[in-house]
Symmetry: D2
């Protein structure tokens, strides 16, 4: 069994991105699961082609995409991707789509096919702050998440995939008054836990992790 | 032209809900737009039937549903409803569905068909804090929003509709340390603005109101 | 019995300040309490002289100074003023003292002599969000609060005084994503309540309104 | 040269406290500075006697007291201790003083005599989120901080001391939705940096680290 884990290059003026830094710390295998990694560009118009290439080349069973959610304190297992690009800032190519669908004619949304609540439970059990999130935003992270799920739904029906948002690294938060962060080693530990849970079970647990609003 | 505006009864132990209180302050007409209002139950298993009854009876051109988002500081124009119920607490009938679709076999999501960015711009112009929100949660608010959009998409194709989340009233926030709130008169003013904008234009403006994450 | 209520002119690029706007809404009398108001400059090097002039001229029994605390959601009754100026931004005269005492040789701090917990209780009872705050910052607000208490302690022993921080007005919050606010009428109502409580009782109530950290 | 570093035992139902856990990770020496540690009780009526005993026995040149500030994301160098106990919850002995002075007849406040801005600058330089805080609360942390500074001012004039608040550990934040945290190794690294800075310089740097409100 093989997992592809992707992370974004830095964006928005940051010199570093935990989503790509963490890839360097992942082991080549977690139990019976082989781990392959790819750094992806933070660019609306290139990221999905690179993802498709990596999936085509590596033929993974699981895909976990990682991105930075500056300002969040917890590892966030994203529940749903939505079919809209709405960029508050420009991406690394200068692209800034507004209210454009990720995939013209695609469905309004896709749900993660990873066991996100089981992952959250395992992360907390390991002493790591984690949550289910109901929005991956409308920037390149959601774009990639939607594109991934569309790829799996339309061309790779046997694959499962999802997206996890990461907090700032402490070194990033040091420059942003009041911002929460998480140590890179803890983020790496969290990614390993999510991969192990996803490899071990297809069905999610029943747990109230919803949001009132 | 006629608008139906709905608001929820109190829930979760609160004695009051701005979403129903505000209905009492709305005028019967805003320009050429007639306003009808309905208080809806905060109950997964009853709210959509009552909504459908009201739409069938009143035959509005626009439907704006209102709900409380305790903890938010701004009037929140919701962008998307998702096809999942995941209740952290019980509703007013004791119902607490977990990871159940709002509509079995329905699409993963529906986008609001109100001009939400034009509404946000008009609200700010009027001095009211407002934002586009990318998640209406997974409780009865999202359930109603999804059910509304499904009803419009499948049985009332000419109608337009959407959802707005409201902050606590000051009297509610007085019991919750640190919670933001908004005066009822300002909420009512905001609802009128959103209705006027929705009545005046079908197409939204182009404005970067997206979220990075 | 007479109260002096002061508010700051706008600062930091804002065109308006609730602390001066609210003065226009106060009645000339609250019960047996005469109300006089003064707008004060947001300037370290001028504000205390203007305060002393107003106190000397008006000879009030109570002094309540008001200031803006952008980002707070509640009316904040300040508990303590500290003997330090540490300005993150320049004041309206371009002054930006760093780690300079408000009064050279003065005590490290002064406690409010208003019944702040009784005021908080009365505000909440009236449906207004309110709290005891343990820091008035280190900008002109704290400077004025310290200077007021030093004046009372050293030259006007019969007078009582204190400071209340106010949230943004909604029109200010409309320009600051996510910021909480309070309607001007509610702020004015709150100021009247605080004045009435302060006029009615010298001793505070016993209530746990402390902060863990 | 010798430093005493103190940390509190767990309180408020927590099974662990970063302020005592971190003591186990400190080295016996940092450069020429010898490090002694003490765990102190989270109890208003006992903590100052134990602090005085430790200072009398160990005769340190520097005292750095540590405490938990659950909900803060940064290492917080406290600027000022105030002469009031106001407990929102009971301490570990069941004590809950309200509006009682820490030291009857003591001054309203004491400023830290550690170079807090130099420490913040060094922490950020090392990639750790840090800030100057203007309130240590009104619970046992502020009580200890005030008691420490009173002890130094009245009986140990050559000693310098101060207080630093710490974020939750990740394992604590895992049980508190949305709460920020910091890895224990990063906290320990931060404590070492603060001690090294305090040992190296008596005077603080000039830097604008104040708060508007």
């Amino acid at each position: 069994m093989k997992a592809l884990v992707t992370g974004f290059e830095p964006f928005g003026g940051d010199g570093v991105n935990p989503a790509s830094e963490v890839l360097k710390l992942l082991p080549p295998r977690i139990g019976a699961l082989d781990i392959a990694t790819r750094v992806l560009p933070c660019a609306f118009d290139r990221v999905l082609a690179e993802l498709a290439d990596a999936v085509g080349e590596l033929r993974p069973d699981l895909v976990l995409c990682l991105g930075l959610a500056g300002g969040r304190a917890e590892l966030s297992l994203e529940r749903v991707a939505i079919n809209v690009d709405d960029a508050r800032i420009a991406d690394n190519d200068g692209g800034q789509p507004i209210d454009r669908p990720v995939v013209a004619g695609g469905p309004a949304g896709y749900f993660s096919t990873l066991p996100i609540k089981a992952a959250v439970a395992a992360l907390r059990e390991a002493g790591l702050p984690a949550t289910v999130s109901n929005s991956a935003g409308t920037f390149v992270c959601n774009h990639l998440f939607y594109g991934l799920m569309h790829l799996l739904a339309t061309r790779r029906p046997g694959l499962r995939g999802g997206f996890m948002h990461l907090p700032y690294l402490p070194s990033q938060a040091a420059a942003q008054p009041g911002a929460p962060s998480m140590a890179l080693a803890d983020i790496a530990h969290g990614v390993e836990i999510v991969l192990a849970v996803a490899a071990a079970q297809r069905d999610d647990i029943v747990a109230a992790e919803g949001a009132i609003s």
